[in-house]
């Protein structure tokens, strides 16, 4: 589904991401873990076309994101770490706009939005201005916007920051359901318990270099520690320079 080939991204003299090779299959929940500044968000932004890769290519269903941005972007949903959206619009309007931006039929959007709102119990507040929502509620709307147009792949940057425990559970359930129905998730996080619980595979990113990928059990085997937690896995591979 998603193939990242020798991806390198440089900002002047800083190499944020260095020769990353990675594949995410259909129906896979892939988590990339790493500390702040390790390059997780940069990879996501390259996949989304928000940044131009310095070298390498990114393919979605064998089509280059760089040369077919419009076609590939239509198949991607994005949940940013900072749920900032245009000011002076309501949550409902944001969902309407999101659907229309992805070319959805307006009738379909109108049918789908109320259904989605129920997941987070947002009915009744969707016509309030977005800036009046709490951070958690803002995050809920961006999660729903990413699901609205039924993408094939969802890119998630720290999905549960700011959510209350109940909402965090709902968010992860929605993402897991999405994977169960054949969708793929590429999640960047440093909330290790979340990655450990939901991921089918993880990648350890350290200073822009992808150190290791595999299922948690495979990684445990590689470090010969069958009981290792994800934190121990992370520490092991990120120090193994």
């Amino acid at each position: 589904m998603l193939k990242i080939k020798k991806l390198t991204k440089k900002f002047e003299d800083l190499t944020a991401v260095k020769e990353v090779d990675l594949e995410v299959e259909r129906g896979e929940f892939f988590s990339i873990i790493g500390p702040n500044g390790s390059g997780k968000t940069t990879i996501i932004k390259c996949i989304l076309g928000l940044l131009h890769p310095t070298e390498g290519d990114i393919l979605l269903e064998n089509k280059s994101i760089i040369s077919n941005p419009k076609e590939t972007k239509a198949k991607i949903g994005y949940i940013p770490d900072e749920p900032k959206i245009w000011s002076h619009i309501t949550g409902e309007e944001f969902l309407y706009f999101s659907g229309a931006l992805y070319g959805m039929d307006k009738q379909k959007i109108k049918e789908k939005v109320p259904e989605l709102l129920k997941h987070f119990n947002l009915e009744g507040i969707e016509r309030k201005y977005y800036e009046n929502y709490s951070r958690g509620n803002k995050q809920k709307f961006t999660i729903l916007a990413a699901l609205l147009h039924k993408p094939d792949l969802i890119l998630v940057d720290e999905p549960i920051v700011g959510l209350d425990p109940e909402a965090a559970k709902t968010a992860m359930r929605l993402l897991s359901n999405f994977v169960n129905k054949g969708g793929s998730i590429f999640m960047a996080t440093h909330t290790l318990p979340v990655a450990e619980k939901h991921s089918t595979r993880v990648g350890v990113l350290h200073r822009g270099v992808l150190k290791e990928t595999g299922s948690i059990n495979q990684l445990r085997e590689k470090m010969s520690h069958p009981e290792a937690s994800l934190l121990e896995i992370y520490n092991h591979f990120s120090k193994n320079e």
């Binding site: 941005p69 419009k70 590939t72 994005y78 245009w86 931006l101 959805m104 009744g124 929502y133 709490s134």
Partner: protein
């Protein structure tokens, strides 16, 4: 309070530490642009005052200059008041970065800092209007340096007094609102807008009420004319600096000093009032931080949708988003209304000139086209100010929310086109209203009105594209503050381009009216198309390379 001032002085120093040459250039260009404007006002006022002194008629020598002083200070005062209201409202209560200072025990100092910043930031009309007038008066009537200094400081005090008055009114209205449990910032903004409208209406009524023609007919003695004028304007605070200038002209420094003293005392009084009100700053500030946080709300009310249907296409999303985000923003509306008022006031003043002096309706060909040409340049220049404030920062302001358009399957060029379409339509409509305000009362003939309308509409479309393109080519995601974005080097560059282009348009129109040769429109049209296409092409190229960091 000292730590705040030290912070701001360090900020100014730091501004010049990075990209020193280009930032010094920007500052120099801005000083040059303001200096040119101030010199223009100085020159024309000096010539006008000099003209009044060529007559022996005491009415021309005394009453007309006093009318000019009253008008200048009245308009200066109105501009200072309105701009302090806009700056004060949003800077006192709606600056997202103030939370941590307001949570500290040093919060009271912030009110003084904001107070002085509001006074300084809103005092620009004295640089381009009141001080050039003062220097023109001194050039024509000559008075000694100490009196010039006295008048100089009196004008600055006048500016600070008006600014302080605006802030005190904001505070008093806010306190009353809090007492009656009215916590909406929008209501406060609405009340202040009404107060500004009332002030504007009073100023306009005063300007119209004093009929120059009527004053000219007073033949026996100058006293009734002066008395009538003094009475008409004495209700405004601008009366005091105007009378001070009047007495300096007449060589009555004692009287001038008296009026300067009144200005100083009024400023002192407002400072004392603000000092007593500043303790309420936190009390008021807290009120306007309250939104309607629904997570804590027990009762959820199903409201009617504001937007009933989703847009039909991605392009329409961008157009609708521009409409909603601009027209629902109180700050944007305030600035828009303020700049539009300035434009319509300029159109109105030229109308008055035309009606009283009769330049535009003159039989002489050299004069006949002069006013409509000046009018065209003026309208285009004010539209440029709107472009600089709203269109130029448009792409940069996407900033934190750029992931929405950046990650969507929509070509950035289409977004560019939609933005251009939205602003060009809005500004062309404003230009058309300005033309109507100018043309209808004077019953302008078709042969003047048609080329004037064509040049203005072409000009608006071209300048809109130049502004949007420059803002896109020199995109800046470091800030979403339109004031900071507009005062960058490309922003100043845009103002220079628009000055040249507006001047060229006015000159071309003048040539058309002078020669009655309408073919001059064609090269103007071709030049505008070239500018439009080049700007668009360069913007598209930069969009291809654009990264959303």
């Amino acid at each position: 309070m000292n730590k705040y001032f030290s912070y701001y002085s360090k900020r100014i120093k730091r501004y010049f530490e990075k990209e020193t040459e280009s930032r010094l250039l920007v500052t120099a260009l801005m000083v040059l642009a303001v200096g040119l404007l101030a010199y223009g006002v100085f020159y024309f006022t000096k010539e006008g005052l000099g003209f009044t002194q060529e007559e022996t008629d005491p009415f021309m020598m005394e009453a007309v200059p006093l009318y000019i002083y009253q008008l200048f200070f009245l308009i200066t005062g109105f501009l200072i008041f309105t701009s302090t209201v806009i700056f004060g409202l949003f800077n006192f209560f709606k600056n997202e970065k103030d939370g941590w200072i307001m949570a500290s025990p040093s919060y009271e100092g912030l009110s003084w800092v904001k107070f002085f910043r509001a006074l300084i930031d809103s005092s620009w009309p004295i640089i381009v209007l009141a001080l050039p007038l003062l220097f023109a008066v001194r050039t024509v009537f000559t008075f000694s340096l100490p009196y010039l200094l006295m008048a100089f400081f009196a004008i600055i005090f006048f500016s600070f007094f008006i600014g302080a008055l605006a802030i005190i009114i904001i505070f008093i209205v806010s306190i009353i609102m809090k007492l009656i449990n009215l916590k909406s910032f929008k209501v406060l903004a609405g009340i202040m807008a009404l107060i500004c409208l009332f002030a504007g209406f009073s100023v306009w009524r005063q300007v119209v009420e004093v009929d120059i023609n009527e004053l000219f007919q007073v033949e026996e003695t100058i006293d009734p004319a002066l008395t009538h004028m003094i009475e008409s304007f004495s209700v405004f605070p601008s009366h005091f600096p105007a009378m001070m200038t009047h007495h300096l002209q007449l060589g009555n420094p004692g009287q001038a000093l008296r009026y300067a003293g009144v200005v100083f005392v009024t400023l002192l009084l407002t400072l004392i009032v603000f000092k007593s009100l500043k303790s309420k700053f936190l009390y008021i500030w807290q009120t306007f931080q309250e939104g309607s946080f629904e997570a804590k709300s027990k009762k959820r009310v199903k409201r009617k949708p504001i937007m009933k249907n989703p847009p039909e296409s991605p392009e329409k999303v961008i157009f609708r988003k521009e409409v909603l985000t601009n027209f629902r923003s109180a700050k944007n509306l305030f600035w828009f209304a303020f700049l539009m008022t300035l434009m319509f006031a300029q159109v109105g003043v030229v109308n008055l000139l035309e009606r009283y002096v009769g330049i535009g309706v003159s039989e002489e060909a050299a004069l006949a086209g002069f006013t409509p040409s000046v009018q065209t340049g003026g309208i285009l220049f004010f539209i440029s100010a709107l472009i600089l404030r709203f269109v130029f920062p448009s792409f940069s302001q996407e900033g934190n929310t750029s992931w929405i358009i950046g990650s969507a399957p929509i070509d950035l060029k289409k977004i560019f086109r939609q933005k251009s379409l939205f602003y060009a339509t809005l500004l062309a409509a404003m230009g058309a209203i300005a033309i109507m305000i100018y043309a209808i009362p004077l019953s302008i003939a078709g042969e003047v009105l048609v080329p004037l309308t064509v040049v203005i509409i072409i000009g608006i479309i071209t300048l809109n594209m130049v502004g949007l393109s420059l803002g896109t080519i020199f995109i800046n995601f470091d800030t979403d503050d339109p004031q900071r974005l507009s005062t960058s080097a490309p922003g100043v560059g845009f103002i220079l381009i628009s000055l040249i282009y507006s001047g060229l348009s006015a000159f071309l129109l003048y040539r058309i009216f002078l020669t009655q040769n309408y073919q001059f429109i064609l090269p103007f049209l071709i030049l505008s198309i070239i500018i439009y296409k080049t700007a668009q092409k360069l913007a598209f190229k930069s969009l291809e390379r654009l990264e959303f960091l």
